[in-house]
Protein backbone atom coordinates (compact mmCIF):
# COMPACT_ATOMS: atom_id res chain seq x y z
CA UNK A 1 0.00 0.00 0.00
CA UNK A 2 1.38 3.42 -0.91
CA UNK A 3 2.35 5.79 1.87
CA UNK A 4 -0.28 8.51 2.35
CA UNK A 5 0.69 11.97 1.16
CA UNK A 6 1.21 14.75 3.68
CA UNK A 7 -2.16 16.28 2.82
CA UNK A 8 -3.83 12.94 3.52
CA UNK A 9 -2.06 12.73 6.88
CA UNK A 10 -3.30 16.21 7.71
CA UNK A 11 -6.92 15.18 7.26
CA UNK A 12 -6.83 11.70 8.76
CA UNK A 13 -4.47 11.84 11.75
CA UNK A 14 -6.32 12.29 15.06
CA UNK A 15 -3.70 14.76 16.41
CA UNK A 16 -3.55 15.47 20.13
CA UNK A 17 -6.52 13.88 21.86
CA UNK A 18 -7.59 14.11 25.48
CA UNK A 19 -9.39 11.01 26.72
CA UNK A 20 -11.58 11.73 29.77
CA UNK A 21 -12.68 8.78 31.86
CA UNK A 22 -11.34 5.64 33.43
CA UNK A 23 -12.02 1.99 32.85
CA UNK A 24 -11.72 -0.56 30.06
CA UNK A 25 -13.49 1.57 27.42
CA UNK A 26 -11.30 4.64 28.05
CA UNK A 27 -8.23 2.39 28.01
CA UNK A 28 -9.29 0.66 24.82
CA UNK A 29 -10.05 3.91 23.00
CA UNK A 30 -6.79 5.50 24.21
CA UNK A 31 -4.78 2.55 22.95
CA UNK A 32 -6.65 2.51 19.64
CA UNK A 33 -5.97 6.21 19.16
CA UNK A 34 -2.26 5.79 19.99
CA UNK A 35 -1.95 2.95 17.49
CA UNK A 36 -3.41 5.25 14.87
CA UNK A 37 -0.89 7.99 15.53
CA UNK A 38 -2.68 10.16 18.11
CA UNK A 39 -0.86 11.94 20.90
CA UNK A 40 -3.16 10.86 23.75
CA UNK A 41 -3.21 13.03 26.86
CA UNK A 42 -5.14 12.65 30.10
CA UNK A 43 -7.66 15.00 31.68
CA UNK A 44 -5.07 16.66 33.91
CA UNK A 45 -2.14 16.90 31.55
CA UNK A 46 -1.10 20.48 30.96
CA UNK A 47 -1.01 21.12 27.23
CA UNK A 48 -0.64 24.01 24.85
CA UNK A 49 -2.71 22.60 21.99
CA UNK A 50 -5.62 20.19 21.78
CA UNK A 51 -7.26 18.80 18.65
CA UNK A 52 -9.91 16.49 20.07
CA UNK A 53 -11.53 15.23 23.27
CA UNK A 54 -13.11 11.83 23.88
CA UNK A 55 -15.43 11.43 26.85
CA UNK A 56 -15.54 7.79 27.97
CA UNK A 57 -16.56 7.61 31.64
CA UNK A 58 -18.36 4.26 31.52
CA UNK A 59 -16.70 1.69 33.77
CA UNK A 60 -18.34 -1.65 34.58
CA UNK A 61 -16.94 -1.36 38.10
CA UNK A 62 -19.29 1.62 38.62
CA UNK A 63 -22.08 1.17 36.04
CA UNK A 64 -23.98 -1.29 38.19
CA UNK A 65 -27.69 -2.23 38.12
CA UNK A 66 -30.00 -1.28 40.96
CA UNK A 67 -33.70 -2.24 41.05
CA UNK A 68 -35.58 1.05 40.70
CA UNK A 69 -37.39 0.70 44.02
CA UNK A 70 -34.02 0.40 45.78
CA UNK A 71 -32.36 3.26 43.94
CA UNK A 72 -31.06 5.85 46.42
CA UNK A 73 -30.40 9.52 45.89
CA UNK A 74 -26.69 8.69 46.18
CA UNK A 75 -27.03 6.12 43.36
CA UNK A 76 -28.86 8.61 41.15
CA UNK A 77 -26.36 11.34 41.93
CA UNK A 78 -23.42 9.09 41.05
CA UNK A 79 -24.97 7.97 37.76
CA UNK A 80 -26.93 10.94 36.40
CA UNK A 81 -25.57 14.04 38.09
CA UNK A 82 -21.88 13.23 38.32
CA UNK A 83 -21.72 11.86 34.78
CA UNK A 84 -23.49 14.89 33.34
CA UNK A 85 -21.43 17.34 35.37
CA UNK A 86 -18.24 15.60 34.23
CA UNK A 87 -19.40 15.64 30.60
CA UNK A 88 -20.21 19.36 30.73
CA UNK A 89 -16.87 20.15 32.37
CA UNK A 90 -14.98 18.04 29.83
CA UNK A 91 -16.69 19.76 26.89
CA UNK A 92 -16.13 23.26 28.24
CA UNK A 93 -12.49 22.50 29.06
CA UNK A 94 -11.92 21.08 25.59
CA UNK A 95 -13.46 24.14 23.97
CA UNK A 96 -11.11 26.33 26.04
CA UNK A 97 -8.10 24.25 25.02
CA UNK A 98 -9.07 24.30 21.36
CA UNK A 99 -8.21 28.01 21.79
CA UNK A 100 -10.41 29.25 18.99
CA UNK A 101 -8.91 26.93 16.36
CA UNK A 102 -11.82 24.49 16.38
CA UNK A 103 -11.62 20.81 17.20
CA UNK A 104 -13.54 17.57 17.56
CA UNK A 105 -15.45 16.23 20.53
CA UNK A 106 -16.58 12.60 20.78
CA UNK A 107 -19.00 11.70 23.55
CA UNK A 108 -19.33 7.96 24.02
CA UNK A 109 -22.52 6.31 25.22
CA UNK A 110 -23.73 2.74 25.65
CA UNK A 111 -26.76 1.99 23.48
CA UNK A 112 -28.64 1.60 26.76
CA UNK A 113 -29.28 5.30 26.17
CA UNK A 114 -31.53 4.41 23.21
CA UNK A 115 -32.84 1.01 24.27
CA UNK A 116 -33.28 1.55 28.02
CA UNK A 117 -32.25 -1.04 30.56
CA UNK A 118 -34.08 -2.79 33.38
CA UNK A 119 -32.44 -1.82 36.69
CA UNK A 120 -30.46 0.73 34.71
CA UNK A 121 -32.81 3.74 34.69
CA UNK A 122 -30.19 5.89 36.41
CA UNK A 123 -27.39 5.03 34.00
CA UNK A 124 -29.65 5.10 30.94
CA UNK A 125 -30.64 8.65 31.95
CA UNK A 126 -26.96 9.61 32.13
CA UNK A 127 -26.15 7.93 28.82
CA UNK A 128 -28.99 9.61 26.91
CA UNK A 129 -28.17 12.90 28.64
CA UNK A 130 -24.61 12.69 27.33
CA UNK A 131 -25.98 11.75 23.89
CA UNK A 132 -28.11 14.93 23.81
CA UNK A 133 -25.26 17.06 25.16
CA UNK A 134 -23.43 16.08 21.97
CA UNK A 135 -26.34 17.34 19.84
CA UNK A 136 -26.72 20.64 21.75
CA UNK A 137 -23.01 21.42 21.73
CA UNK A 138 -22.81 20.41 18.07
CA UNK A 139 -25.48 23.00 17.32
CA UNK A 140 -24.09 25.74 19.54
CA UNK A 141 -20.37 25.31 18.89
CA UNK A 142 -20.48 24.18 15.26
CA UNK A 143 -20.10 27.75 13.99
CA UNK A 144 -16.80 27.92 15.95
CA UNK A 145 -15.40 24.98 14.03
CA UNK A 146 -16.02 22.50 16.83
CA UNK A 147 -17.65 19.30 15.61
CA UNK A 148 -19.32 17.19 18.27
CA UNK A 149 -20.55 13.66 17.68
CA UNK A 150 -21.49 10.52 19.58
CA UNK A 151 -19.90 7.09 19.52
CA UNK A 152 -22.30 4.46 20.81
CA UNK A 153 -21.01 1.11 22.03
CA UNK A 154 -22.42 -2.27 23.02
CA UNK A 155 -23.67 -2.23 26.64
CA UNK A 156 -21.73 -5.46 27.18
CA UNK A 157 -18.55 -3.35 27.06
CA UNK A 158 -19.46 -0.97 29.86
CA UNK A 159 -22.34 -2.30 31.99
CA UNK A 160 -21.59 -4.47 35.00
CA UNK A 161 -24.54 -6.66 33.98
CA UNK A 162 -25.82 -6.14 30.47
CA UNK A 163 -28.00 -9.24 30.75
CA UNK A 164 -30.22 -7.88 33.51
CA UNK A 165 -30.68 -4.67 31.46
CA UNK A 166 -32.42 -6.75 28.80
CA UNK A 167 -31.64 -7.40 25.15
CA UNK A 168 -31.02 -4.46 22.82
CA UNK A 169 -32.25 -6.54 19.91
CA UNK A 170 -33.81 -9.93 19.33
CA UNK A 171 -31.35 -10.43 16.47
CA UNK A 172 -27.77 -11.64 16.65
CA UNK A 173 -25.06 -9.06 15.91
CA UNK A 174 -24.80 -8.49 12.17
CA UNK A 175 -21.03 -7.98 12.53
CA UNK A 176 -19.79 -9.92 15.56
CA UNK A 177 -16.69 -8.59 17.25
CA UNK A 178 -16.84 -5.05 15.85
CA UNK A 179 -14.25 -2.74 17.41
CA UNK A 180 -14.63 1.05 17.77
CA UNK A 181 -10.94 1.96 17.27
CA UNK A 182 -11.09 3.08 13.66
CA UNK A 183 -14.32 4.98 14.19
CA UNK A 184 -13.11 6.94 17.22
CA UNK A 185 -9.91 7.81 15.34
CA UNK A 186 -11.99 9.04 12.40
CA UNK A 187 -14.29 11.11 14.64
CA UNK A 188 -11.21 12.73 16.23
CA UNK A 189 -9.60 13.53 12.89
CA UNK A 190 -10.09 16.63 10.74
CA UNK A 191 -11.94 14.41 8.28
CA UNK A 192 -14.91 14.45 10.69
CA UNK A 193 -15.13 18.25 10.72
CA UNK A 194 -18.29 18.17 8.59
CA UNK A 195 -20.17 15.85 10.95
CA UNK A 196 -22.28 17.47 13.63
CA UNK A 197 -24.52 15.85 16.22
CA UNK A 198 -24.29 12.43 14.59
CA UNK A 199 -24.23 9.08 16.32
CA UNK A 200 -22.03 6.30 15.00
CA UNK A 201 -22.98 3.06 16.68
CA UNK A 202 -20.25 0.42 16.74
CA UNK A 203 -21.92 -2.55 18.36
CA UNK A 204 -21.89 -5.03 15.52
CA UNK A 205 -25.33 -3.89 14.44
CA UNK A 206 -27.36 -4.82 17.51
CA UNK A 207 -28.97 -1.40 17.63
CA UNK A 208 -30.34 -0.12 14.32
Amino acid sequence: MAEPSSSEIATTAPGRVRVVGTGPLADELSEALRRRGADVVGADDGIDRLDAMVFAPWDPAVVRPVPFDELTDADFDRAWQQTMDAAIDACVAARTDFAGRGGRIVLTTPTTAFAGGAEYAHWAAAAEGVHLLAKSTARQWGPEGISVNSLAVDPARVLADAVVAGPVSIAAPAVPGAEPGDVVAFLCSPAAAGLAGQTLTVDGGLWM
Partner: protein
Protein backbone atom coordinates in the same frame (compact mmCIF):
# COMPACT_ATOMS: atom_id res chain seq x y z
CA UNK B 1 -67.46 20.29 31.11
CA UNK B 2 -68.34 17.29 28.98
CA UNK B 3 -67.42 14.29 31.14
CA UNK B 4 -66.95 11.30 28.84
CA UNK B 5 -65.85 8.84 31.50
CA UNK B 6 -62.89 7.13 29.82
CA UNK B 7 -61.01 7.59 33.11
CA UNK B 8 -63.97 7.20 35.45
CA UNK B 9 -62.83 5.91 38.84
CA UNK B 10 -59.16 6.60 38.12
CA UNK B 11 -56.97 8.85 40.25
CA UNK B 12 -54.23 10.94 38.67
CA UNK B 13 -51.51 13.30 39.83
CA UNK B 14 -50.27 15.96 37.42
CA UNK B 15 -47.21 17.94 38.48
CA UNK B 16 -46.82 21.49 37.26
CA UNK B 17 -50.58 21.61 36.76
CA UNK B 18 -50.93 25.22 37.87
CA UNK B 19 -50.41 26.43 34.31
CA UNK B 20 -49.52 25.52 30.76
CA UNK B 21 -49.22 21.94 29.57
CA UNK B 22 -49.78 20.52 33.07
CA UNK B 23 -53.00 22.48 33.46
CA UNK B 24 -54.15 21.30 30.05
CA UNK B 25 -53.44 17.68 30.94
CA UNK B 26 -55.21 18.00 34.30
CA UNK B 27 -58.30 19.54 32.71
CA UNK B 28 -58.51 16.82 30.09
CA UNK B 29 -58.00 13.96 32.56
CA UNK B 30 -60.73 15.48 34.76
CA UNK B 31 -63.01 15.82 31.76
CA UNK B 32 -62.51 12.09 31.14
CA UNK B 33 -63.70 11.37 34.66
CA UNK B 34 -60.45 11.06 36.63
CA UNK B 35 -60.02 12.49 40.09
CA UNK B 36 -57.08 14.82 39.55
CA UNK B 37 -54.54 16.15 41.99
CA UNK B 38 -53.14 19.47 40.87
CA UNK B 39 -49.57 19.27 42.12
CA UNK B 40 -48.41 22.85 41.81
CA UNK B 41 -45.47 24.67 43.32
CA UNK B 42 -47.71 27.54 44.40
CA UNK B 43 -51.26 27.43 45.74
CA UNK B 44 -51.84 30.73 43.94
CA UNK B 45 -51.75 28.93 40.60
CA UNK B 46 -52.84 25.41 41.63
CA UNK B 47 -55.94 26.24 43.66
CA UNK B 48 -57.71 28.20 40.90
CA UNK B 49 -57.19 25.32 38.45
CA UNK B 50 -58.62 22.82 40.94
CA UNK B 51 -61.52 25.14 41.74
CA UNK B 52 -62.41 25.69 38.10
CA UNK B 53 -62.37 21.93 37.42
CA UNK B 54 -64.70 21.41 40.39
CA UNK B 55 -66.93 24.26 39.23
CA UNK B 56 -67.23 22.48 35.87
CA UNK B 57 -68.36 19.25 37.53
CA UNK B 58 -65.03 17.46 37.85
CA UNK B 59 -63.11 16.19 40.87
CA UNK B 60 -59.84 17.96 41.64
CA UNK B 61 -57.71 18.96 44.57
CA UNK B 62 -54.57 21.05 44.78
CA UNK B 63 -51.61 19.71 46.74
CA UNK B 64 -48.77 22.22 46.87
CA UNK B 65 -45.68 20.31 45.73
CA UNK B 66 -42.11 21.47 45.19
CA UNK B 67 -40.68 18.84 42.81
CA UNK B 68 -37.07 19.89 43.41
CA UNK B 69 -37.06 17.79 46.59
CA UNK B 70 -37.97 14.16 47.29
CA UNK B 71 -40.03 14.74 50.46
CA UNK B 72 -42.75 16.97 48.94
CA UNK B 73 -43.27 14.49 46.11
CA UNK B 74 -43.64 11.61 48.56
CA UNK B 75 -46.04 13.74 50.60
CA UNK B 76 -48.09 14.52 47.49
CA UNK B 77 -48.43 10.84 46.64
CA UNK B 78 -49.31 9.97 50.24
CA UNK B 79 -51.81 12.82 50.36
CA UNK B 80 -53.41 11.70 47.11
CA UNK B 81 -53.81 8.11 48.28
CA UNK B 82 -55.06 9.35 51.63
CA UNK B 83 -57.69 11.52 49.96
CA UNK B 84 -58.77 9.28 47.06
CA UNK B 85 -57.67 5.80 48.17
CA UNK B 86 -55.56 4.97 45.14
CA UNK B 87 -53.27 6.27 42.43
CA UNK B 88 -53.52 5.00 38.86
CA UNK B 89 -51.81 7.68 36.79
CA UNK B 90 -48.71 9.71 37.60
CA UNK B 91 -47.92 12.51 35.16
CA UNK B 92 -44.68 14.39 35.77
CA UNK B 93 -44.76 17.60 33.80
CA UNK B 94 -43.28 20.30 36.05
CA UNK B 95 -40.11 21.94 34.79
CA UNK B 96 -38.06 25.01 35.59
CA UNK B 97 -34.82 26.55 34.46
CA UNK B 98 -35.17 26.87 30.70
CA UNK B 99 -33.01 29.96 30.25
CA UNK B 100 -31.15 30.59 27.01
CA UNK B 101 -27.38 30.64 27.44
CA UNK B 102 -24.06 29.53 26.05
CA UNK B 103 -23.07 26.18 27.54
CA UNK B 104 -19.79 27.62 28.84
CA UNK B 105 -21.70 30.44 30.55
CA UNK B 106 -24.67 28.52 31.93
CA UNK B 107 -25.08 29.44 35.62
CA UNK B 108 -24.87 26.48 37.98
CA UNK B 109 -28.28 27.27 39.47
CA UNK B 110 -29.91 27.15 36.03
CA UNK B 111 -28.50 23.68 35.36
CA UNK B 112 -29.49 22.64 38.90
CA UNK B 113 -33.10 23.71 38.28
CA UNK B 114 -33.31 21.84 34.99
CA UNK B 115 -31.65 18.73 36.36
CA UNK B 116 -33.76 18.65 39.52
CA UNK B 117 -37.15 19.35 37.95
CA UNK B 118 -36.61 17.00 35.02
CA UNK B 119 -34.36 14.01 35.80
CA UNK B 120 -34.43 13.99 39.58
CA UNK B 121 -38.15 14.72 39.87
CA UNK B 122 -38.94 12.00 37.33
CA UNK B 123 -36.97 9.58 39.53
CA UNK B 124 -38.77 10.67 42.67
CA UNK B 125 -42.25 10.77 41.11
CA UNK B 126 -41.79 7.31 39.62
CA UNK B 127 -40.44 5.79 42.80
CA UNK B 128 -43.12 7.30 45.03
CA UNK B 129 -45.92 6.29 42.68
CA UNK B 130 -44.68 2.79 41.92
CA UNK B 131 -46.36 0.74 44.70
CA UNK B 132 -49.70 2.38 43.89
CA UNK B 133 -49.32 1.94 40.13
CA UNK B 134 -48.50 -1.71 40.80
CA UNK B 135 -51.65 -2.08 42.91
CA UNK B 136 -53.76 -0.58 40.12
CA UNK B 137 -55.02 -2.71 37.23
CA UNK B 138 -54.18 0.23 34.95
CA UNK B 139 -50.97 1.73 36.30
CA UNK B 140 -49.61 4.49 34.08
CA UNK B 141 -46.55 6.70 34.30
CA UNK B 142 -46.31 9.55 31.81
CA UNK B 143 -43.30 11.86 31.66
CA UNK B 144 -43.55 15.14 29.77
CA UNK B 145 -40.37 15.65 27.78
CA UNK B 146 -39.68 17.89 24.79
CA UNK B 147 -38.76 17.69 21.10
CA UNK B 148 -35.56 19.47 22.19
CA UNK B 149 -34.76 16.37 24.21
CA UNK B 150 -34.51 14.46 20.95
CA UNK B 151 -33.01 17.06 18.62
CA UNK B 152 -30.68 19.06 20.84
CA UNK B 153 -30.90 22.80 21.39
CA UNK B 154 -28.52 25.56 20.39
CA UNK B 155 -30.40 28.06 22.56
CA UNK B 156 -30.73 26.15 25.84
CA UNK B 157 -28.09 23.44 25.46
CA UNK B 158 -28.67 21.72 28.81
CA UNK B 159 -32.45 21.60 28.37
CA UNK B 160 -31.94 18.74 25.92
CA UNK B 161 -29.97 16.40 28.22
CA UNK B 162 -32.37 17.13 31.09
CA UNK B 163 -35.33 16.17 28.90
CA UNK B 164 -33.53 13.26 27.22
CA UNK B 165 -32.94 11.65 30.60
CA UNK B 166 -36.69 11.22 30.93
CA UNK B 167 -36.98 9.23 27.71
CA UNK B 168 -34.21 6.86 28.73
CA UNK B 169 -35.79 6.44 32.16
CA UNK B 170 -39.17 5.74 30.58
CA UNK B 171 -37.68 3.04 28.34
CA UNK B 172 -35.84 1.51 31.30
CA UNK B 173 -38.93 1.52 33.51
CA UNK B 174 -41.04 0.16 30.67
CA UNK B 175 -38.70 -2.83 30.72
CA UNK B 176 -38.52 -3.09 34.50
CA UNK B 177 -42.21 -2.58 35.28
CA UNK B 178 -43.72 -4.25 32.23
CA UNK B 179 -44.04 -7.60 33.99
CA UNK B 180 -46.40 -6.00 36.51
CA UNK B 181 -48.55 -4.45 33.79
CA UNK B 182 -47.52 -0.82 34.25
CA UNK B 183 -46.93 1.24 31.12
CA UNK B 184 -44.40 4.06 31.01
CA UNK B 185 -44.41 6.61 28.21
CA UNK B 186 -43.38 10.14 27.32
CA UNK B 187 -45.01 12.91 25.39
CA UNK B 188 -43.00 15.67 23.73
CA UNK B 189 -45.39 18.60 23.27
CA UNK B 190 -45.24 22.00 21.68
CA UNK B 191 -48.07 24.12 23.07
CA UNK B 192 -49.14 27.69 23.75
CA UNK B 193 -48.00 28.04 27.35
CA UNK B 194 -46.40 30.62 29.63
CA UNK B 195 -43.14 28.65 29.28
CA UNK B 196 -43.20 28.88 25.49
CA UNK B 197 -44.17 32.55 25.69
CA UNK B 198 -41.07 33.03 27.83
CA UNK B 199 -38.95 31.24 25.27
CA UNK B 200 -40.35 33.52 22.54
CA UNK B 201 -39.35 36.53 24.63
CA UNK B 202 -35.80 35.22 24.91
CA UNK B 203 -35.56 34.14 21.27
CA UNK B 204 -38.05 36.26 19.29
CA UNK B 205 -37.46 34.46 15.98
CA UNK B 206 -38.41 31.13 17.55
CA UNK B 207 -42.17 31.47 16.98
CA UNK B 208 -41.79 32.00 13.27
CA UNK B 209 -39.27 29.17 13.03
CA UNK B 210 -41.62 26.76 14.79
CA UNK B 211 -44.70 27.77 12.81
CA UNK B 212 -42.81 27.58 9.52
CA UNK B 213 -41.70 24.03 10.28
CA UNK B 214 -45.06 22.81 11.55
CA UNK B 215 -47.20 21.11 8.87
CA UNK B 216 -50.37 21.74 10.88
CA UNK B 217 -49.42 25.40 10.93
CA UNK B 218 -50.22 26.25 14.53
CA UNK B 219 -48.88 25.80 18.02
CA UNK B 220 -50.79 23.25 20.09
CA UNK B 221 -53.57 23.80 22.61
CA UNK B 222 -52.65 22.40 26.06
CA UNK B 223 -56.08 20.83 26.67
CA UNK B 224 -57.27 19.64 23.27
CA UNK B 225 -53.96 18.82 21.61
CA UNK B 226 -51.77 17.69 24.51
CA UNK B 227 -54.21 16.64 27.25
CA UNK B 228 -56.04 14.34 24.87
CA UNK B 229 -52.89 12.40 24.08
CA UNK B 230 -52.12 11.95 27.77
CA UNK B 231 -55.72 10.86 28.37
CA UNK B 232 -55.19 8.22 25.69
CA UNK B 233 -51.94 7.02 27.29
CA UNK B 234 -53.61 7.01 30.72
CA UNK B 235 -56.68 5.20 29.49
CA UNK B 236 -57.74 1.66 28.64
CA UNK B 237 -56.87 1.89 24.93
CA UNK B 238 -53.13 2.31 25.50
CA UNK B 239 -52.43 -0.79 27.56
CA UNK B 240 -50.04 -2.21 24.94
CA UNK B 241 -48.06 1.02 24.42
CA UNK B 242 -44.95 1.34 26.58
CA UNK B 243 -41.51 2.91 26.47
CA UNK B 244 -42.65 5.29 23.71
CA UNK B 245 -42.39 9.00 23.14
CA UNK B 246 -45.34 10.57 21.35
CA UNK B 247 -44.28 13.85 19.81
CA UNK B 248 -47.28 16.22 19.91
CA UNK B 249 -46.03 19.11 17.82
CA UNK B 250 -48.22 19.40 14.75
CA UNK B 251 -45.94 17.17 12.68
CA UNK B 252 -42.87 19.34 13.11
CA UNK B 253 -40.38 16.70 14.24
CA UNK B 254 -40.32 13.72 11.89
CA UNK B 255 -37.20 11.94 13.06
CA UNK B 256 -38.64 8.96 14.90
Amino acid sequence: MDVTGRLEGRVAIVTGAGQGVGEGIARKLAAEGACVVIAARRAATGEPVAESIRAAGGVAECIVTDVTERAPIEACVAGTVGRFGRLDVMVHNAFAGGVASRLEETPADVWFQMSRTSAWASFWCAQAAHPHLEASDQGRLVLVTSPSGVEGSANIPLYSPAKAAQRAMAKSLAREWGPSGITVNCIAPVAETPALAGAFEQVPELRGAIEARTPLGRIGDPVADIGGVVAFLAGPDAGYVSGQTIVCDGGSFLGL
